[in-house]
Symmetry: C2
Subunit: 361 residues, 2 copies
DNA sequence: GCCCGTGCGGAAACCGTATCCCATGGTTTC
DNA sequence: GAAACCATGGGATACGGTTTCCGCACGGGC
């Protein structure tokens, strides 16, 4: 009676167990399972029967160690419950699954420490790519931190992908997938201006956030293009949540300035703004027009349905994954600076029912 | 000049590189890093310096293989973008991160084949637990399939956790985390009935879905308790999306029967219903009352804010992870049938502004 | 001054799989 | 008929860690 391993004990069956029970060598089992080596029909049958009997699955860790293994992509974001992020994640995950890749998910809660810890954790896992989602605060420090991440991942044969974040300056091994944030805001503001609005309450988001800054710039440019003075006092910064939308509108209604339209930084902010207007007895869009940004499902679930900027979040996720997959298959040669490092997708205004020309007072 | 490995080549540094450069043995490096063995301060300093210099991280696959490794939990769901699922996922992920666990995510797209493939994939990964989210169709076949999954995972030292799904009959090694679905529906329907509504359009969801069935049963029981006949013709089955809510209401308004309130199966369905009512020129709640289920953020973003049933999704996620973590730490002894295999969390009605007593015609 | 206990570092045996290299037996070719 | 060849299967090794077992050096107590 051998000391090796009590048959039928807990824990999973190994390839050795299969080999032993089938009366073949370990190498043969491996070959049957991976199928990249000619084996006789007889051998295949014998092995597969034992595999089924033992309900054997290969150990992914061992396989990875030995060189094979399925590639894994890590998705890191602030918060899974954000609709926009969730759509990007869906895009990444879907594209990953399509080519047999695995997806890991981690949330940073907007904490640089946790971000660092997670990137390191992913590096340990030997992921093929780390996808970082969402806007960034504190630009200068951000650039340095990301550059470190990028080089560190690159050294480990992995790749940093920035989605919806500012791309990196200098010669940094990273891929950026972005959308025309400022252009979308420009178009959205133009839509309001061309409807005749001149007094627009602007809620771009948190002042330090890169996406908010871009959306504000786009709006400003539209005002300039229309020759309408852009009054800084009409801008209210704050987080991307409905409470901020509510409070900002509530306060503006109480303390001024007067406005005939609200340009919200996201659909969620617009939802809050809409509630505040209703609470004050104002009708949308008859009394006040309102527009959002992102085009998440919420936008079409509100009444009236929200005119907003469509951002192809899910496709950004797919594109991000495709980019790293291509890079990985395209050959190991570092193709620094080649186009494909920075992809920009278009945005467009989706016209629904939340905008009307301003009422003549 | 050794053939071993060209220093500075691509690929990550190994523990051997660190040992060599620090002039110590591999074992010492391992001991410094895992910290479960006394080492001198001098050694620690020397090793850590090289670790930083080389930007070394341990190889998680190798570590797992050797016995250690960070536990991983797999979250499998239909669709990441569903708000309710996302909250559960957040709960699981948060609790996992809290104890240093990793989270894998996969989406099944409601395809049993993909579910099977994913469960196998997770088994290969050696995950500590597989968490399956969401209601189930086709009860009898579901029971068999899950029982197989459960046993298969159990044999591999892993654990199946069902969240918001029917629990398994018989002696199956699985954990279920559920909420009082039927009770919530009972309370919600009672709320409408006690406000005086007698003609209620019921949109419970897809006829074959376990959650929809529970919500319908709860509503029925409430009608019985109030002595109000439950008219099957007032029930409209369909998917959990806003289009279904819209169409069902639109059609009922056109073809009858008459109703003074809508009992929607989810908040999203309620949002669609609300739109249809508005489109028909009816006011909510003055003309028609409406209630939802789930209490996702959407519920409080609609106007009027939706009265709905709060389901503690995020906590369910946390509870699910805690359950498997406890099981794993509590000792290997299979404690079949012990309480803790089936956890049920409470639900409660959240009263907002979408219900009024019916207008006297 | 010797002995023994203690503390720490090194060598080696695993973990489970993929793959390289070689052995074997039968078939083809000259 | 012998040599070369093909197809197939087995043994050994590498992957990058962790951990056990051992031995060495050092210091204190008698």
């Amino acid at each position: 009676m051998s000391q090796r391993k009590v048959s039928g004990d807990a824990g999973r069956a190994t390839i050795r167990d299969v080999a032993e029970q089938a009366g073949v060598s370990v190498a043969s089992v491996s070959r049957v399972l991976s199928g990249n080596y000619p084996v006789s029909e007889e051998l295949r049958r014998r092995v597969m029967k034992v595999v089924r009997d033992l309900d054997y699955v290969t150990n992914a860790h061992a396989r990875s160690l030995a060189g094979g293994g399925t590639p894994t992509v890590a998705i890191l974001m602030d918060n899974i419950t954000g609709a926009a992020f969730a759509h990007v994640a869906k895009g990444v995950e879907g594209a990953a699954t399509l080519r047999g890749w695995l997806s890991l998910v981690g949330t940073t809660g907007n904490d640089p420490e946790r971000e660092l810890a997670l990137v390191n954790l992913m590096r340990q896992q030997g992921v093929a790519a780390v996808v970082l989602l969402g806007g960034a605060y504190d630009q200068d420090e951000y650039q340095l931190r990301m550059a470190r991440f990028a080089r560190s991942l690159d050294a480990a044969g992995s790749r940093l992908v920035l989605v919806g974040r500012p791309s990196l300056e200098g010669d940094v091994p990273a891929t950026t997938v972005d959308y025309d944030n400022e252009g979308g805001a420009y178009a959205m503001a133009s839509h309001l201006l061309s409807a005749g609005h001149r007094q627009v309450l602007v809620l771009p988001g948190h002042a330090g956030l890169s996406t908010a800054q871009g959306r504000l710039r786009g709006a400003q440019r539209a005002f300039e293009a229309y020759g309408v003075p852009f009054v800084p006092g009409m801008v209210r910064h704050g987080p991307y949540d409905d409470q901020h939308g509510y409070r900002a509108v509530e306060q503006a209604l109480r303390d001024g300035p007067a406005f005939t339209a609200v340009l919200a930084g996201t659909d969620v902010v617009a939802a809050g703004a809409m509630q505040a207007l209703r609470a004050a007895g104002l009708r949308v869009p008859e009394d006040v027009s309102i527009v959002g940004y992102d085009d998440i499902p919420l936008a079409s679930q509100l009444t009236p349905q929200l005119t907003t900027v469509h951002v192809p979040y899910e496709e950004m996720g797919r594109v991000a994954l495709r980019a790293v997959a291509d890079l990985r298959e395209g050959g190991g040669g570092r193709r620094k600076g080649i186009d494909g490092d920075h992809l920009v997708l278009g945005t467009h205004v989706v016209v629904r029912n939340s905008v009307r020309p301003p009422a003549r007072p």
